[in-house]
């Protein structure tokens, strides 16, 4: 039974890893960051300083975007945020407890 449980845990973790690997493998993806609700990064594929910078700034942006959507219609909620800049695109999916941030360079 212990073996089975162990396998399950691994399986769960592998799923997250697998999904992230799948996203990372797409063309042009430069980095993925998972951030918790307070803006503290949990997992990242970028270097530490960039991660921390992205996490802090994007957390504030998502809060603002979410409050905007909810102010207009309290029964609405933010599901996906895409920030397109000259050099790349930042995609953010917010959740109650976590954010997932993906940075992609579309022209690569």
């Amino acid at each position: 039974v212990t073996v089975l449980i162990h396998h399950c845990i691994l399986y769960k973790k592998a799923e997250v890893e697998e999904t992230l690997k799948r996203i990372q493998g797409q063309k042009g993806v430069q980095g993925i960051i998972i951030v918790n609700a307070e803006g503290i990064p949990i997992k990242t594929t970028l270097d530490n300083s960039s991660t921390v910078q992205y996490a802090g700034l994007i957390h504030q942006l998502v809060m603002k975007a979410r409050s905007t959507v909810r102010d207009i219609d309290p029964q609405n909620d933010l599901t996906f945020l895409r920030v397109r800049s000259k050099k790349n695109e930042i995609m953010i999916a917010p959740d109650k407890d976590y954010f997932l941030i993906v940075i992609q360079n579309p022209s690569d």
Partner: protein
């Protein structure tokens, strides 16, 4: 006073309105609307009748008020006019003067012109009657004006005095109005009840707001003080991160959002929605109109009959800071044997480096004297007044032209000196220390860089260029340091001593048996190597190696490592090795009848190799502004312009510059509108050509296209290599199979 309003009708002086009673009307036969009508208002009355009427009826007569006027009337008959419209206020009016009567009865044809129109036009001028001025007939318009005009209409006061005081002076005095009662009439103010009404009802809206209170405070200002805050982002420990990663919530979250990401990422991959196709399209067409002339235009050419007669130019260099100044190294056009034979003559005829300026195409601006023919020279990048040259006898020479800089810049006043100034070299290496063969190339190490004795690159703290590399066909590459040994003098100090013979250091770079080298440095350096091995001068071998010195454990001698790669590609001498100014790892080599492009790190061979051309390629150079363009000089005086994005099997264009072999090509960017190409030929002439717009302006994404092209070529090489291996393996397998079959057969 105010003019009084009166219903007085103004009438002209020569008529008098009057009213006639019906009795009078009957008497005189001018009954209204019967005898006299609106259409026929005139009635002639006899004066006698009127007089008699007045006598008869005296005061009752209607004519009595004007008795005198009637009597004064000169003629016998008066005109009575029926004023039906009461223009003058009465029903009739009497005309008082003969003139007026005439006027009334025979109205003046002031319309003389109208009458004339009925007749012939030629008679117009003859019969035109000018209108005579008529008396003003008032129609009441001056009434308003008179109302507005101020006239003295104040009522006059009459004062009466007793008779005995007539003529006596009058004394007026003042009296205060307040003194007597009723001296003035006062209009006292009083409270008008109309204005003190109280509004008992009012309609208004009310809204509640939170309690507002305004208050203020003052911060205590003691003194300013610098403060700073330092912060650090919060981070989780590894353990906590692991916990989070393994939580169920995270897994669910990631799985649920992953699809959104994939969709978005794929959307971006499929098409870039923000890319402006229209704008990007226009860039290509912008040069359409100017594609007219893709040829290199001759801008200027320099040749000196005195100094470069019978000579050839071996090297060209643009002055790095002074615009329009170019230096050429002039050498003898002799073969080795001829040199030996004519050596005495050569001694008398010193070798020179000429400085040309665009402002003066006939006389060179400056001459640098060299101990021997110079094949290669360079300006120092950090101080363009220092020039180093490598001579034919293996010596390294230094010049300092700081005293003549002003003349080069053209700022000296007395330019016309008839005599071109000559600068002697200020330092030269000892013959025994130098190369044993002509120095074919010499380069400065960049100012950030220096090499230690062991060949280890270090940071150069000075920031100025202090080291030089030379190479020669004696298979040597030497490093020279221009600083004095042990004592680090500044360059300026050194230059002050114009010592004749100052042997330079040769601290390291002990030679070894090399063919020739392509030195792999930081991309700042562009190293040109000329000539190949000494053993086979025709051999076009290219060697790639690391120049770091190693210590041989046995003998303790320093030697350089073996070359890592050797290539024989060109079927003639390799005369050019150049890095591309746009790609750090792309190198061009020109030799024999071909040129090749190499990528550092790709050791299979050149990634691009041109086909053999008809004539030998003598020199090559990358374009400074277009990543895909290179210039190849040929031995028949042609310049081939290769645009690798256009075609790679032949040059994009060929242009003949001169009749003899081209010895050197150097492009230079003067400004964004002017790119020049300096080409020297075997006869000693320097041609300056202007690069046309098509060859100097890169197309959009040219660099990207070129890098992609290079990658493709690398892939091709790799693929070929793989195929070769596979083929070899296949062959081996096939042979083994054959052998096995044979043996099987025999065994059966």
């Amino acid at each position: 006073g105010r003019p009084q309003h009166s219903k007085m009708y103004c009438h002209p002086n020569d008529i008098l309105p009057l009213t006639l009673t019906s009795a009078t009307q009957e008497l005189f036969g001018c009954r209204c609307d019967e005898d006299v009508t609106g259409d026929n208002p005139y009635k002639i009355l006899r004066k006698e009748d009127i007089v008699q009427d007045m006598r008869m009826r005296a005061a009752v007569s209607d004519f009595s008020p004007m008795k005198q006027l009637v009597l004064d009337y000169p003629e016998d008959e008066l005109l009575l006019v029926y004023d039906r419209d009461f223009i003058y206020g009465s029903s009739f009016y009497l005309v008082l003067t003969a003139d007026a009567k005439e006027r009334h009865l025979k109205p003046v044809v002031a319309l003389g012109v109208e009458v004339a129109l009925e007749r012939e036009p030629s008679e117009v001028f003859a019969t035109q009657k000018t209108s005579e001025p008529q008396p003003w007939i008032s129609l009441g318009s001056e009434q308003e004006i008179e109302e507005e005009s101020v006239t003295d209409s104040r009522p006059r006061y009459r004062i009466s005095r007793v008779r005995r005081e007539f003529g006596a002076p009058i004394f007026f005095s003042d009296r205060n109005a307040m003194e007597t009662k009723d001296g003035f009439i006062e209009c006292t103010p009083y409270q008008d009840k109309n204005f003190s009404l109280k509004q008992m009802e009012r309609h208004t809206g009310v809204q509640t707001i939170p309690n507002l209170k305004s208050s203020s405070t003052q911060t205590q200002w003691t003194y300013p003080r610098s403060m700073c805050t330092q912060y650090e982002p919060r981070e989780f420990s590894e353990e906590k991160k692991e916990n989070c990663l393994q939580s169920e919530k995270l897994k669910n979250f990631v799985n649920s959002v992953a699809s959104r990401f994939e969709m978005a990422i794929q959307q971006n991959e499929i098409m870039d929605v923000f890319f402006d196709d229209w704008k990007a399209l226009s860039e290509e067409d912008s040069g359409y109109g100017r594609k007219a002339d893709p040829h290199l235009k001759e801008y200027q050419s320099f040749t000196d009959l005195h100094f470069s007669k019978e000579k050839t130019i071996s090297n060209i260099n643009w002055h790095p800071t002074i615009n329009g100044v170019i230096a050429v190294a002039v050498t003898e056009r002799l073969s080795f044997e001829d040199r030996i034979n004519g050596s005495t003559k050569l001694l008398l005829n010193p070798s020179l480096i000429l400085f040309w300026s665009f402002s003066d195409p006939i006389n060179p601006q400056l001459l640098l004297e060299c101990p021997d023919d110079v094949f290669s020279f360079e300006f120092c990048p950090s101080d363009p007044n220092i020039i180093v040259g490598g001579c034919m006898n293996g010596q390294v020479v230094l010049w300092d032209i700081s005293t003549h800089v002003e003349q080069l810049q053209g700022t000296r006043t007395n330019k016309r000196e008839n005599e071109t100034p000559v600068v002697r070299y200020c330092a030269v290496s000892g013959i025994e220390n130098g190369h044993k063969a002509p120095i074919t190339d010499i380069q400065w190490l960049p100012g950030t860089f220096e090499v230690s004795r062991m060949g280890v690159p270090m940071e150069n703290k000075n920031g100025i260029c202090v080291q030089i590399v030379t190479c020669a066909p004696d298979c040597c590459v030497m490093f020279w340091d221009i600083r004095a040994p042990r004592v680090l003098q500044t360059m300026a100090d050194q230059r002050k001593q114009k010592v004749e013979e100052k042997p330079l250091e040769n601290p390291h770079g002990v030679p070894n048996t090399f063919k020739h080298l392509d030195l792999t440095w930081k991309p700042l350096i562009r190293l040109q190597l000329v000539l190949s091995t000494t053993f086979c001068p025709q051999d076009g071998e290219l060697v790639y190696t690391d120049w770091k010195l190693e210590k041989d454990n046995d003998s303790g001698r320093l030697f350089s490592a073996k070359p890592s790669h050797r290539f024989i590609i060109h079927d003639g001498q390799v005369n050019t090795v150049r890095r591309s100014p746009f790609f750090k790892d792309i190198i061009l080599t020109v030799g024999g009848w071909t040129f090749a492009i190499w990528k550092e790190g790709v050791t299979n061979g050149p990634i691009i190799q041109s086909s053999c051309s008809q004539k030998k390629c003598t020199v090559g150079y990358w374009s400074q502004s277009r990543p895909a363009v290179l210039f190849i000089g040929k031995e028949d005086g042609n310049i081939d312009v290769w645009d690798l994005l256009e075609k790679t099997h032949e040059p994009s264009q060929t242009q003949n510059i001169t009749a003899t072999q081209i010895t050197c090509i150097k492009p230079w960017i003067v400004s964004s509108k002017q790119h020049l190409l300096a080409v020297s030929d075997h006869l000693g002439t320097l041609h300056i050509l202007e690069i046309p717009w098509t060859l100097r302006s890169p197309s959009s994404n040219e660099k990207l296209s070129m890098s992609k092209y290079f990658e493709k070529e690398v892939d091709r090489l790799v693929y070929f290599e793989k195929r070769r291996e596979m083929r070899a393996k296949e062959k081996k397998d096939y042979e083994a199979e054959e052998l096995r079959k044979k043996t099987v057969r025999y065994s059966i």
